[in-house]
């Protein structure tokens, strides 16, 4: 579904990602591990058209999408869900969700997706008319994921969905990710130390200093003591 060939990304003159190649097949959950500040977020953003300077090739269902801006990509079904949430603070939960369905391809499905999202996150339905800025950290995280789902995406890049959440909410996030994936949405997730999410993964990549330092299945990853200890938490 997504195929990346020797991707490089830059912030001004800083070379963040170096020659990354990766493939995510339809229906898979692929998890990216790695220390903070080594380019995981930049990698997801590069795929979703949120980094200006990239080289290499990105294919989406055989179509070359390298260099397309996020507004085009969201319309094609590729959506980024930010680690720091990036909500609209002075808007209500409902308005935030409606803006999630801004793209042309999502508009006709707005009502259906809203129902879907509310059944997935009953808490959001109860707080529909509350301002996003008044929500707790966990609720805001749920809203960010829900807003991403409103785009009617076929491919979601989710950046550390359980970062900073307490253990029971982490499990809740894992349940939701499983649910999203079972609805046929392909997922590329940056995450660490959340066993429930690790269990869902079809494939792992480790990103260190802007390069892929490990690539393999769950079994491969479990066989690697270094990985197991540092990132997996299994």
């Amino acid at each position: 579904m997504i195929k990346i060939q020797s991707l490089n990304a830059f912030y001004n003159d800083f070379h963040v990602l170096k020659d990354i190649s990766l493939e995510v097949k339809k229906g898979q959950v692929v998890v990216i591990l790695g220390p903070n500040g080594h380019g995981k977020s930049t990698f997801l953003k590069s795929i979703c058209g949120l980094v200006d300077k990239i080289t290499g090739k990105i294919f989406y269902d055989q179509e070359d999408i390298t260099g397309l801006k996020s507004e085009k990509l969201v319309n094609k079904g590729i959506t980024y869900i930010a680690e720091n949430r990036e909500l609209f603070p002075e808007m209500t939960v409902l308005e935030n969700l409606k803006l999630g369905a801004y793209s042309k391809s999502a508009r006709p499905h707005e009502k259906k997706n809203l129902e879907k999202v509310f059944s997935l996150f009953p808490r959001l339905a109860a707080r529909k008319s509350q301002l996003a800025s008044t929500m707790s950290g966990g609720e805001a995280r749920m809203l960010a994921i829900a807003r991403g789902l409103m785009s009617n995406a076929k491919f979601l890049a989710i950046d550390e969905p359980s970062l900073g959440l307490q253990p029971n909410l982490r499990n809740e996030v894992a349940r939701i990710i499983k649910e999203i994936n079972s609805q046929g949405i392909t997922l590329l997730v940056v995450e660490q130390n959340t066993p429930r999410i690790m269990e869902l993964a079809d494939k792992f990549y480790v990103l260190e200093e802007g390069r892929i330092s490990f690539e393999g299945s769950k079994e491969d990853a479990l066989g690697n003591d270094h990985l197991k200890e540092i990132f997996l938490g299994i």
Partner: protein
């Protein structure tokens, strides 16, 4: 005395309402794109001159028609000004300064073009409505009432647009979180141009409304630019609500200072109030830090 004070209050309310219409537009551009528009005053004059041209056409004889024609003209002009002058700068470093310079240049260009095309002499627009009516002991001119109604109507229409249309929602989204707006797929470039266009309509309409009372001159916009900036800074940069309050405060202040001390003191009083406010609350009345 009492009647005089009521008259002053009415005059402050009416000017305040037009200031509000214009300052909200300026705040909008700043809030959304963080760009300073120094040509704002000249766009005010542009509105007046467009109305003047429209009125010179034989078949145009009322303000409603002029508004309906001037609004789309101003919208298109604003949109392309942003696309041609401001948008190309945005990709560069320290574009904020460059935008200030280029809009300043645009202001000088427009003002001089007005002078070449229309001459340096004042132009006036016909009165919107003749006559007046009595409300107890007060006399209100229909013109003032109409100006007030159109300004408030414009602001309400703008509010409706922001809250209820998809483009309006995307404008608010970009103002509140540009990153987030990009993530949900809002085309930022279009939103920047759209806000510039909308604010051009708002200030241009203000120009048309006030031209019947204060004439149109090639450099008349500078006064408005200063006032609009004072209001924007006073209300809090980027806060629409703050601009609304500030506009009426400035309108009232002007009216009272003008009545009691003479018109020459109004600008001094304005800046005194602005500086005092900013000394106590650097973020303005309703502004936020950061």
């Amino acid at each position: 005395m009492f009647i005089e004070i009521i008259d002053v209050i009415i005059s402050g309310l009416i000017n305040g309402s037009v200031y509000a219409l214009m300052a909200v537009g300026l705040t909008l551009i700043y809030g959304v794109s963080k760009a300073f528009n120094f040509a704002y005053g000249s766009l005010y004059s542009l509105g007046g001159y467009i109305a003047f041209l429209l009125f010179s056409l034989a078949w145009i004889n009322n303000y409603l028609l002029v508004f309906c024609l001037a609004a789309p003209i101003l919208l298109v002009i604003g949109f392309f000004l942003e696309k041609l002058l401001v948008a190309p700068l945005r990709k560069r470093d320290d574009w904020e300064i460059k935008v200030m310079m280029i809009t300043l240049g645009l202001a000088l260009f427009l003002d001089n073009s007005f002078q070449v095309v229309f001459g340096a002499r004042m132009k006036s627009l016909p009165t919107m409505l003749e006559g007046s009516f009595e409300l107890g002991e007060f006399i209100l001119s229909y013109q003032d009432v109409a100006i007030f109604i159109f300004s408030i109507g414009g602001i309400l229409l703008f509010r409706w647009f922001l809250n209820n249309t998809r483009t309006g929602m995307s404008v608010r989204a970009v103002a509140q979180n540009p990153e987030g707006a990009q993530i949900v797929g809002i085309p930022k470039e279009f939103v920047f141009a759209a806000t510039f266009a909308i604010s051009t309509v708002m200030v241009g309409m203000g120009g048309i409304l006030l031209a019947q009372k204060y004439f149109i001159t090639p450099t008349g916009g500078w006064d408005i630019l200063v006032k609009a900036w004072v209001i924007t800074a006073f209300g809090g940069m980027g806060s629409i609500k703050g601009s609304l309050y500030a506009a009426f405060i400035v309108g009232m202040l002007e009216a009272f200072v003008g009545w009691h001390f003479g018109m020459t003191w109004t600008l001094i009083a304005l800046f005194a109030v602005l500086l005092t406010t900013l000394a106590v609350r650097p973020q303005g009345l309703m502004g936020k830090w950061g």
